[in-house]
Symmetry: C2
Subunit: 191 residues, 2 copies
DNA sequence: GTCTATAAATGGATAGAC
DNA sequence: GTCTATCCATTTATAGAC
């Protein structure tokens, strides 16, 4: 997902994120990870005693990734439209090669089975993302660059939900669904 | 999901749909169903020898539901806008009470683990739904009632993906997410 | 159609040696 | 940090009696 893993713990998290995006949280096991790393299940339990410990670590990894992404996008000082375009381009990298979805979407699918600590983390991550997109939309509207009705938070819902959903659909119907969705979203706001 | 179940087989399918919407396909077991019905697992296996047999039956139930819903909506002869509103109102019934999502969304989440027969069925169901919404959007645009750019198939993606995604978010962030999404979608097309 | 019984595999988890 | 060994519960699935 981002950096090269150095130690075992980071390797496990990186692999966990990959399984999360391809199979889902409840559909991967310590055995899957241990097989891939060539070590035993017990070794994984040494780093993450319970699966929910790994789950929390995955949430933290996503949070770190969000923070880096959003900080960088803000620092680039590009227009709101370009910033949104880059955000979507980065989402699109999930699709290349294997069929991956957003890790946050995957966690949402299993939400009814997750412990409260994970639930709270997911809720925060969702809000963080919506807030960032709403901020960009508002900035673009004030600059006369983007056009939409109502509150930017509600338009942010349309943008984020469509993009995340398109990643899911792309696994079944092909990558074109994602690019078509992005094109439609952006063209509708350019007026 | 719709009719009152008469025989065991229909009871199992009805319960299966409920578990599909609340826990996901890979996250419910024959034990869950048998406990709920007060019979043994072996009895469930009598009706559906393998879990994928039940999975196919669930897809067929969704297909039947789609067909009834779309036929009725077309038969009502209401305006495109009213038809879309009714479609979304019916999706909203998932949200009331317990936290359910669209059964098709649930199946999509587990797509990488499903047998080919289920994969093909899901693909067809998705396409059927997008086609119906695209048809309504096109009709509304021709009547001068709805306004959007580009092809109606692409706009249908925005509508369907946003609504399905909103159901997922509503489980975490509350029902308001869904009504806000619907409001934003419709107001953006009323111009 | 439903039951008991059972099989074989998998999943999460722990104890203790190296 | 990693291993062997083991535990217990669950899951899918089958055989055969009632």
């Amino acid at each position: 997902m981002h950096n090269r893993p150095k130690n075992r713990k980071q390797q496990i998290i990186a692999l966990g994120l990959d399984f999360l995006q391809t199979h889902g949280y409840e559909n991967f096991s310590y055995q899957d990870i241990s097989r891939e790393l060539g070590i035993t299940k017990a070794s994984i339990h040494h780093h993450f005693p319970k699966k929910c410990d790994l789950g929390i670590a995955l949430c933290e990894a996503i949070e770190e990734w969000h923070e880096n992404q959003f900080r960088e996008l803000r620092h680039n000082q590009t227009s709101a439209l370009e910033t949104l375009q880059t955000y979507m381009d980065q989402l699109a990298t999930y699709v290349v090669g294997e069929s991956r979805v957003c890790p946050l979407s995957s966690l949402q699918s299993d939400i009814t089975l997750l412990p409260d600590a994970m639930y709270q983390a997911i809720k925060r991550l969702d809000q963080h993302e919506i807030d960032f997109i709403a901020e960009q939309l508002e900035r673009g509207r004030e600059a006369g660059e983007l056009h939409f009705q109502g509150e930017s938070e509600n338009q942010a819902l349309i943008v984020v939900l469509s993009c995340k959903g398109a990643l899911q659909y792309a696994r079944i119907h092909g990558d074109k669904v994602f690019s078509d969705t992005v094109k439609q979203l952006l063209s509708s706001m350019k007026q």
